[in-house]
Amino acid sequence: MTAFTGTWRLVRLALRRDRIQLPIWLVSLILIEAATVSSIVGLYPDEEERLNLAITSANSPVSLMTNGLVSGSSLGATTMTQGLAVLGLGVAFMSTLAVIRHTRQNEETGRAEMIGAGIVGRHANLTAALIVVAGANVVFALLAALTLIGNDLPVASSVLAGASLGFVGIAFAAIAAVTAQISETSRGANGMAAAAIGLAFLLRAVGDVAGKTVEGGTKTISAWPSWLSPIGWSQQTRAYDDDNWWVFGIFVVTVVGLVGLAFELTAHRDVGAGMRAVRPGATTAPPGLLSPLGLAWRLQRGVLFGWAVAMLVLGATYGGVGDEIADMVSDSDEMADLIERLGGAGTLTESYFATTLAFGGIAASGYAIQTLLRMRAEEAAMRVEPVLATSVSRTRWMWSHIVIAMLGVTALVVLMGLSTGLTYGLVIGDVGGQVPPLVGAALVQVPAALALAGLAVAAFGLLPHRAVAIAWTGFALCLLMGQLGAILDLPQAVLNLSPFTHLPAAPADDVVATPLIMLLVVAAALLATGMAAFRRRDVAQG
């Protein structure tokens, strides 16, 4: 028996378990890709329009940040810049979640112990997970390439474009293989992997915003931070322009290194254990723990602290490059004119911050969903039963989690506004003048984030077994509408479904109270529905 014995059996087990989940991921991502590609091909048939768009995008920090570099104005290159950056995030999450589902989650639930007692080698579990996820990414890459070819784009470049997205997924699968060894819980491993994805996106954003524009304003030469990010590498392949196949070499070296590290870590730890030894805890409980709210805080604080760090970094990064925008604009009056018309009513920098803070608002709603779905996790693991068998009412138990989520969301956007304002203020030497308006603008995001959080609570109350899928689908749709709504040319009625659509673009636009109040009403109604439903239903195990 070698360390890899039993791998194929475990591959078949993983495929069987994922027979619904992975196809849903693949089909959704391909549908998004197909819609984006055909929409762009339809919107920009005209070479001159594409040239304008390329110049605008290459000089818009907002576009550089969210979409990434610009590399030419051919139809294919336009498609890559305008639509495909967000897909890299999609495949990254598909891959990290799947790897951890088949590795650390198996260990955490004790399934790995039963598997390991069979004729199964030490490395079989991780190898099987990586094979399945790599396979999913190959399928995705092929389908993505076929979609592009189907839109009459050049074949070789389309294959390169598909492969560059598939490699993003494989790179993050390798990162997840390492985080699955380090953390003892799948929650922790997923958190670390998500942080890596966020960091990769941020590094690329900084690198592209800080980069130079050449070739008549149609090509971004990214600064070095972009080269530290797998998402950056996928864009540096510059499909339909330079077709840099050699960039895949960086992917291959990185993936081999990370997978080797993961195997090395597996060999040096016990099944079920993480890399850190478990320290003994307190023999008696501190008084702060002894209430439903105290318990919820204890269970949830780690997640909040992690998000707080992420939001601080995000805000500081966006704030730090905020001054670049003024430089770009001063280069050309014509450009400033054009960008200002696209960006909104306020100054260009204000439109930029409106975009970054809106992104922060969606991110904060992700925190709220994660926090609120902990209620479902507690229920499914049957940890809620002994709590509800004490003199704690269902309403009080739910409130304890909801209060933390609501205050947490508020704290997170304030932190982001604060760090944006501080760094930007420091750069331009006006801290006092920048912090209050940016914190205020950040707070505008709260009602929309709470409305989306309300969906998670309502789903938990009404459809507990589907709550996780419903809440995260809602989140993904809102994120997509924010990122791709304009490109996909979605009807306003569809865009209106996202609470974030209704927010004023603060600090660029004036804040109007009506939509904020309406969103709070929606949030309250969803919360009330979820709580009433949970009071009436059976406590349901996993």
Binding site: T283, L299, L388, A389, V392, R536
Partner: protein
């Protein structure tokens, strides 16, 4: 005698599966009541309904004079619960969990807490993720027994405990009983129920099939008798209530319905009995009698497939 738990005609469906099918249960205040049944017979479902975690589809249930669903919070101040499968928060220590449950229930006695920790030999500083199944069970048991409540609902509380800890557990339940507390003890460890319980209810497929004191239930079963006489024994086969008879001259072995013991003994005396042993029925046999037909069917099915 007041009633702590009173259930009649309780029905609970999960989709198309009928988990409880008109279950009856009555537990008097101050008694230790055994709640017996094989896996999947509906014990845990009944307990979850009593705790207000599930809503019954039909039938009545009353707990400490209140309604388990509507008065859940008030009622829970007066009871402690040990789940059959104890799942704890991996990053909390055992001591923290014990204090937490105590506080959520309305307080616990610190002296009793440390005494129980010692008796159950439990290290409260360990994180719950490092506890074995048995140790997690101990955390729940200590948290429950350290609470000053009227009613204890224990769902297979000794699963995972070693024999030494089982006996500590039995001592604790006996102390509760002497203290006048009510205990509902669901179990399929028959020896435990026999040692602890005043009355038992046996359920099967969501229905109560037998309920009463152990003496009453034994009354319904057979006693095994082995007898040695001076003269050859005759005429036993004609007596009512005698089963599985084996006669070998002056020696006989048989089961007799407990109601017929007197008549049988009077018959035996005419042969000049020299030695006699009688073995009262165990709960095990009681149990087997209720599930015997099922077991027989299973055996038959196995033989046909073999």
């Amino acid at each position: 005698m007041t009633t702590a738990i009173s259930i009649s005609g309780l029905v609970k469906n999960f989709g198309r599966t009928r988990a409880l099918d008109g279950l009856d249960l009555s537990v008097a205040a101050g008694e230790v009541h055994g709640f017996l049944g094989p896996n999947g017979s509906g014990k845990t479902t009944t307990i979850r309904i009593l705790l207000g975690l599930l809503r019954a589809d039909a039938g009545q249930a009353s707990l400490l004079g209140g309604d388990p669903w509507n008065d859940a919070v008030e009622l829970h101040r007066r009871l402690a619960y040990v789940p059959g499968e104890v799942n704890l928060w991996p990053n909390l220590s055992g001591g923290e969990v014990i204090d937490l449950f105590g506080a959520l229930r309305g307080g616990l006695d610190p002296k009793r807490r440390s005494e129980l920790l010692e008796r159950f030999d439990l290290d409260p500083s360990k994180k719950c993720r490092t506890y074995s199944k048995g140790n997690r069970q101990k955390v729940a048991v200590v948290a429950a027994f350290a609470s000053d409540v009227e009613l204890f609902i224990l769902d297979e509380p000794t699963s995972g405990l070693d024999p030494l800890m089982e006996s500590v557990f039995q001592d604790c339940v006996n102390e509760l009983m002497q203290d006048g507390r009510t205990v509902l003890l669901s179990s399929h460890v028959l020896a435990e129920v026999e040692a602890l319980c005043d009355r038992v209810s046996i359920i099967r497929l969501g229905q109560t099939v037998e309920s009463g004191t152990l003496a009453e239930l034994r009354h319904l079963t057979r006693t095994f008798i082995s007898v040695e006489a001076v003269r050859p024994i005759t005429g036993l086969a004609e007596l009512p209530g005698v089963h599985d008879l084996l006669v070998d001259g002056a020696h006989a072995r048989f089961d007799v319905d407990t109601a017929e013991i007197g008549r049988t003994l009077r018959h035996l005396t005419q042969f000049d009995v020299s030695s006699l042993t009688s073995t009262p029925p165990t709960l095990e046999e009681l149990f087997l009698r209720h599930y015997g037909d099922e077991l027989a069917r299973e055996q038959e099915a196995m033989e046909t497939t073999a």
